[in-house]
Symmetry: C2
């Protein structure tokens, strides 16, 4: 595969104008710009890009599940085909190491294949059939059948921290394409070359699988201008975003202000509380400290599931645990952030916590200022505060996107529950307890559960399994709409709506709803789940 980078949006045969503005990726390892220059799309071209996706929609959405599955599998294979180019380019753009590139590439391809399997099997459509009863009194009962159908063109914004798995061909793109929606991807300014490599892989699959032009597009441009224009365009029907709270809420506002409001699935910020109960702390102190340290510093803490808050019962066990943890943090080398913006935000957030000494915040390990190296260098940070002081300081409730965590000591259950109930919505919550701890912790578990999308018993929240039951989404502001997930097969539900047919001739029904059940789907027929034909 030719993987030469062009520096332009990938729009198939569409000819568009560029604005004249260009940018280059910056290598966070040495602050040097990388070739090639990337050319930003002109705002006046947004209409043509969306029109192409709109025109593709009826054709692409009419492809069978098997055809779309083949397309997704081809994208996966094409991404694997450029793995060596990714291994070369992605670390230069993001400072992420080669094993991460290979791992994230595997996860991305795996997600695409998972959705391929899902749509090839087909039961995800939630086909429902209520058959007619012409003799019913006082009026005949009609035949009513429904299933899930794609919404239309979707805009997906690449994430800074997952250049593959939450970007060009990441979870939202895979879910939307699986559902039958064309996708327009807005590249992230910090890894345009990685985006182009993956975009080329998708474009090759569009061509070889004979999908219509406009099924996929990759766009370079300013988020404020091009990103907003895409979200505001009348033919766009939903938005996927993973990034900052400021960016996500701006898109939510733009989408809500449209003449036709559309859903925005924005994954924003989360501090992922970990609750350690008393017996567990006594029994597994060192193991917990090592596990926590590993989770906080994994990938330099640049995960939305980073455990940024750890609740410990006050006392000697907490002191011993903290000492162990502090020595692990102190021994941890600095690392290079994904980009300067993230490094600056992390420095500001850790400095804000460190400045709260008067308010009771103890700094065990400080994120020291860079002593040489690039501007992206940051170090781990470990803070401690009482539950009471935590409650009093709003700043301690905010995400510090990097290898930082804050230990919060509680005196008793009501202290802990009050602190948990003060938290905003979170992607995850974790509880460490022995059997005896947990048997008396129903109030604590309930408080934690009410705040999260995923509740872990033991372990740590980093590492999100891609499966049917996964919920990677939680109450606001961890996700704009806590009723959905961005990981796992349920993510396909973001980009569909139910449509029902009343008294339709069998031949005009979609195959999913025909009497013979030619697709062999699991369906709800008169309230009974079955694979049988009628």
């Amino acid at each position: 595969m030719n993987t030469e980078l062009t520096g332009h949006s990938l729009l198939g045969n569409l000819t568009v104008k560029e604005s004249g503005a260009t940018f280059r990726a910056i290598n966070p390892g040495n602050d040097e710009p990388l070739e090639p220059e990337y050319h930003q799309l002109a705002g006046s071209s947004v209409d043509a890009v969306v029109a192409q996706a709109k025109a593709a929609f009826p054709v692409y959405s009419s492809k069978t599940g098997a055809q779309r599955a083949e397309f997704l599998r081809q994208i996966a294979a094409n991404i694997e085909g450029v793995i060596e180019s990714l291994v070369e380019r992605m670390p230069a753009e993001t400072a992420l190491p080669e094993p991460r590139v290979r791992g994230e590439s595997g996860r991305t391809a795996g997600q695409l294949r998972m959705f391929a399997d899902l749509i090839e099997e087909g039961s995800w459509q939630d086909a429902r059939i209520d058959t007619a009863d012409p003799d019913r009194q006082p009026i005949p009962k009609p035949d009513v059948r429904s299933h899930l159908q794609p919404l239309g063109p979707i805009v997906v914004f690449c994430a800074s921290n997952f250049p593959l798995a939450f970007s060009v061909a990441g979870g939202d793109t895979a879910a939307a394409l699986a559902a039958g929606c064309p996708v327009i991807v807005k590249a992230h300014h910090s890894h345009p070359g990685t985006a182009e490599l993956v975009g080329q892989a998708v474009m090759k699959a569009v061509a070889s699988c004979q999908m219509p032009d406009g099924t996929f597009a990759l766009v370079y441009g300013s988020g404020r201008e091009i990103g907003t224009a895409l979200v505001q365009h009348s033919a766009v029907k939903a938005v996927g975003f993973t990034g900052s709270r400021g960016g996500g809420t701006a898109l939510m506002k733009a989408a809500a202000a449209r003449p036709e409001p559309i859903p925005v699935f924005a994954e924003m910020s989360s501090i992922n509380p970990v609750v350690v109960l008393s017996e567990a702390l006594h029994a597994h102190s060192d193991q917990l400290a090592q596990g926590l340290h590993g989770s906080v510093t994994l990938g330099l803490g640049q995960f939305c599931t980073n455990p940024g808050l750890v609740f410990l019962p006050e006392g000697e066990a907490a002191t011993a645990f903290t000492e162990t943890l502090k020595s692990l943090f102190d021994e941890t080398a600095k690392g290079c952030s994904l980009n300067q913006g993230i490094a600056e935000s992390y420095r500001a957030a850790t400095a804000a916590s460190a400045a709260l000494a008067q308010a009771g915040v103890v700094v065990h390990t400080a994120n020291t200022a860079p002593d040489g190296g690039s501007a992206c260098q940051v170090g781990p940070a470990l803070f401690q505060v009482s539950a009471k002081a935590f409650l009093a300081n709003e700043a301690l409730h905010q995400e510090a996107f990097g290898p930082a965590t804050t230990l919060v000591t509680y005196r008793n259950e009501s202290d802990l529950v009050e602190a948990l109930e003060s938290l905003e919505g979170q992607l995850t919550g974790t509880i460490h307890g022995t059997q005896a701890d947990l048997s008396g912790a129903s109030t604590i578990i309930a408080a934690l559960k009410s705040r999260v999308g995923r509740l872990l018993f033991g372990g740590f929240p980093t590492g999100v399994e891609v499966c049917h039951a996964m919920v990677h989404g939680g109450p606001y502001p961890s996700t704009s709409d806590g009723r959905s997930t961005s990981v796992g097969t349920m993510a396909i539900q973001r980009f569909v709506r139910a449509v029902c047919y009343q008294n339709a001739p069998d031949s005009l029904l979609p195959e999913a709803l025909q009497n013979e059940n030619p697709l062999k789907l699991q369906r709800l027929v008169n309230g009974q789940s079955t694979k049988e034909s009628l």
Copy 2:
């Protein structure tokens, strides 16, 4: 059952302040006020009402499906127990006739029992289990299990046009209570007594089924003050609304502007296009005219599924059809609208169409001004216009809430498709065609389908079957969020979110997710739909 009307909000044991402002229902038949006076809640009391619902949430949501099912069935029985009081009060408040009261009461009780059956069976929770694989490389696979859980307190606004089925114990209330959410109902000013009768029936069930105080509340107050305050309250987690586009969009804005935005399920306006194809018009002209007339004038046209737009192929057959339809409309007696506001809006909408004579609108039957009787009297209206003129006049795309319809004549398929594609989102679309008509109509069907939630082949859209497959919701603005329905069992999905458990001990899992499958649910276990235990 004592069905004396008190004129006060129903809040259980809660003591609250009222604002001092009062109102009485107006009998639309004679413009006379009805006793008793209804006392509006003070804005300062909203907090206490919501706090009670919030306190009820953990208790109510922990009840088993069987317990909540018993509660819903008791509500249904209690509503049936006050049917004679409803038959006395509701016509006086709404001008709806006794058979409608009995029919809508039956539908309301039926809906409650349908949700009772759904939650007693339990598989609606979408339980998913992905089991662990500790030996997986490079990292062990965790055990992940998810199901749907209730959101929290819900606010439901009563609809003017369905005092029972879309009001106090209507679809949204039944769905939310079924899901495990406490409900706060805001009564509609035009039928407060009907609301109180049903509210008392619900309150009796709360008591006899030993549900916590705050499981249900019925509030009287100004929509602008009390309604908005309820939607803005931080403990409220979703909103159900059926009414005007102005009212619905105001609630959407208030909900989107909250620090924590919440979903609003507003059903607003729809003109429900009916497409008649050529052979069908020739073959069934009189039958179509009679069916259309019956659907447009049913319940004085005060249904959100009223067919307000009928596309006919230009020519002699259309002329003959129109003459038949006109004579049916001319013979139709005037009727009494639900309230003065609706009568005034209908007069304004029909006058706006009639004023477009210059733009090609023909008035076949005019909604003549009232010649005596109450201010709520309105008559049927029948308009005709070419597809070209229809496209040029935005006013013709707006809902006239009453017994009016507009015939739109098209010259050819592209005329028709262009007109269909110009429509906003609709609850329903209907197509009348013979087998030959339909076999060549795929472009027309696709255009119509893209605009609607329910696609009918033959028949008319009034009459919404309450069943598993029903979709009563469509693209904006027919519904604020076209991904959901307000009728049928899928409506429960409005008020839930998925929560997942990772590596939870079996004893701490909800029963729906335990290995033994004690509730005998249909579950997705490692991707396979099954009722088996693990």
